[in-house]
Symmetry: C2
């Protein structure tokens, strides 16, 4: 105790007020000046809830740009809402900062986060800030809304349903390889645009939230691909009690990924199991296929049919170019 | 790729299925087998949302018992729901595990978490598991429910309202001192029971969720004390646009804390600013005081009136034994 110094706010209060309060535009955030947020759910809707933290050195590189880190932290969560057919309602942010994180970093982080929150219509509702002796850790929890009983689960696929994926797969996994071994760019004779495409796809996912209403209208089962198509599709089949054979040649690839796989066919394993795609994997009953394709075209989101669900409870199979089954060393990204 | 090994689940799937799925009893958890949880909010209620992670070496000791860590992780969040007058509805768990965490630890962690989830009627709805190169980090997000527009904010206090706290304050801060300097037990001639009381109060908070309905019925403003009474009460006064003078002698102390402060009066600063109390600080209009006291007595939760709100926007003051103002070096626990 010392004399003369009045009771004042802490550095933590200042940090929240300066960097994060400007993002807390939703009335339920209470200006980040209360213990909790207060959210009034609209009648006739279910809440869709997800938390997926990202950790420096695990999910991103410690020297990644702060605004890219912010976008990834939010987008990996938004991607789950998209896959479930939910519209974003808001998010909570818990951030644990190592001591080397300064004002410039926080400024750029908050700017990137605020831009994405606006773009995806997903306001900051509340959160928490801590110091950590460990790596920068950003834990976002998102809340989405779907009309009651319309959330699209993994478990709704039936024999005959067509299997769709959005965008292109494997870019992030190849981008990570390229980030770790920059000389791969030369080895595979990738041009600057191809290299940047792959690196960007790892660094900042492009969640397919614009497709959420169409997934809800058309799909029987859906999930986002975060741990690789092979493992994630296995989960969807298991949850639905169905199976399938997928011709790997039907899996949509970007130009850059096509070049790399064309020169080293074994890279198809990275494409199918590497993860971090944050694309949609969904099954669509035949009667909805035309409507789904048309809706995706209107949104400007490419979707590709990669196969058909069949009856059976064996694990799904992937076939390579010669028709032989592809068997993966590690079928799905796992932290354990 | 190698031949013969079918696509199977990952270690992460096994970990979730083995340790956490048994806790996911709520139908909205979908058995932890989907991307997200799905929660149907009852009509006429608002959702109260909070995330407050705990980090080894920051909020708890790396060698703390796993079940105690689990309880603290959930309880620091439940405490906020209690203060807002909300009943728990469920939680999401994101856990980042260093490589030294093994099966025994997870078993005990899941057991402690499950027992608390049952006790506080707050089911696990979903979550995420990661490996981390850093310290064990547990990020829980809780959801609570209050009848529409009845959440008790920090901002509702008016001149004349009585200021109440639950339980006793400072135990956790003194318990932390004792944990860091075990010889303080001898210095202050604490008996075994007193030492254990203080150490336990730091390790496992006792959130006052049983008082939530009474806070909602009786209080004008409320928050939980997590960063110390001095700083937290300053926040409540600022949010409400009021002030107060608190006689520090009215702040309720446990036997153990009374012994320590009796022998070293300067320890009142740790009591009032150390934090980790997870007790309720609320203001009660005079007409509700009798009802609040009676309700708390029925719940078996001690509540103590420590002062009265007055008009004014200056920071609240604490007076010491001689009537002189207490001025704190660091009025509130802050990570920054």
């Amino acid at each position: 105790m010392s004399a003369g110094k009045p009771v004042q706010g802490s550095g933590e209060d200042h940090l929240i007020a300066h960097y994060f309060k400007p993002l807390a535009k939703h009335p339920g955030a209470l200006g980040l000046a209360d213990d909790t947020a207060c959210f009034t759910p609209p009648q006739g809707f279910d809440l869709v809830l997800k938390t997926d933290p990202i950790i420096a050195g695990v999910h991103f590189f410690p020297d990644d740009a702060a605004d890219a880190v912010a976008r990834k932290a939010l987008r990996v969560n938004l991607s789950d809402l998209a896959a479930k057919g939910a519209q974003p309602a808001g998010f909570l942010l818990a951030i644990a900062l190592p001591s080397n994180i300064g004002a410039d970093w926080l400024e750029a982080f908050a700017r990137g986060l605020g831009e994405d929150a606006d773009h995806f219509n997903c306001p900051l509702l509340g959160g928490d800030t801590d110091r950590t002796p460990g790596p920068l850790t950003i834990s976002i929890t998102v809340f989405g809304l779907v009309p009651s009983n319309t959330m699209i689960k993994r478990s709704g696929a039936s024999a005959g349903d067509r299997i769709f994926v959005s965008g292109t797969l494997g870019d992030a996994a190849l981008g990570l390889k390229l980030r770790l071994q920059p000389d791969l760019g030369q080895k595979f004779a990738l041009d600057r645009k191809q290299r940047e495409h792959l690196l960007n796809r790892y660094q900042v996912p492009e969640p397919r939230n614009a497709l959420a209403d169409d997934i809800r209208a058309c799909a029987s089962a859906s999930m986002d691909i975060s741990d690789g198509l092979a493992g994630d599709f296995t989960k969807l089949c298991r949850a639905s009690g169905v199976t399938a054979e997928i011709d790997a040649a039907r899996v949509p690839l970007s130009d850059a990924a096509r070049v790399m796989v064309g020169r080293d066919a074994a890279l198809i394993e990275a494409v199918l199991t590497g993860g971090d795609d944050y694309e949609i994997l969904c099954t669509v009953p035949p009667k909805n296929v035309d409507a789904f394709r048309a809706a995706a075209a209107v949104r400007g989101i490419p979707v590709t049919e990669i196969g058909q669900i069949s009856a059976g409870d064996q694990a799904p199979r992937f076939r390579g170019a010669s028709g032989t089954p592809l068997i993966f060393e590690k079928p799905s990204y796992s932290h354990f």
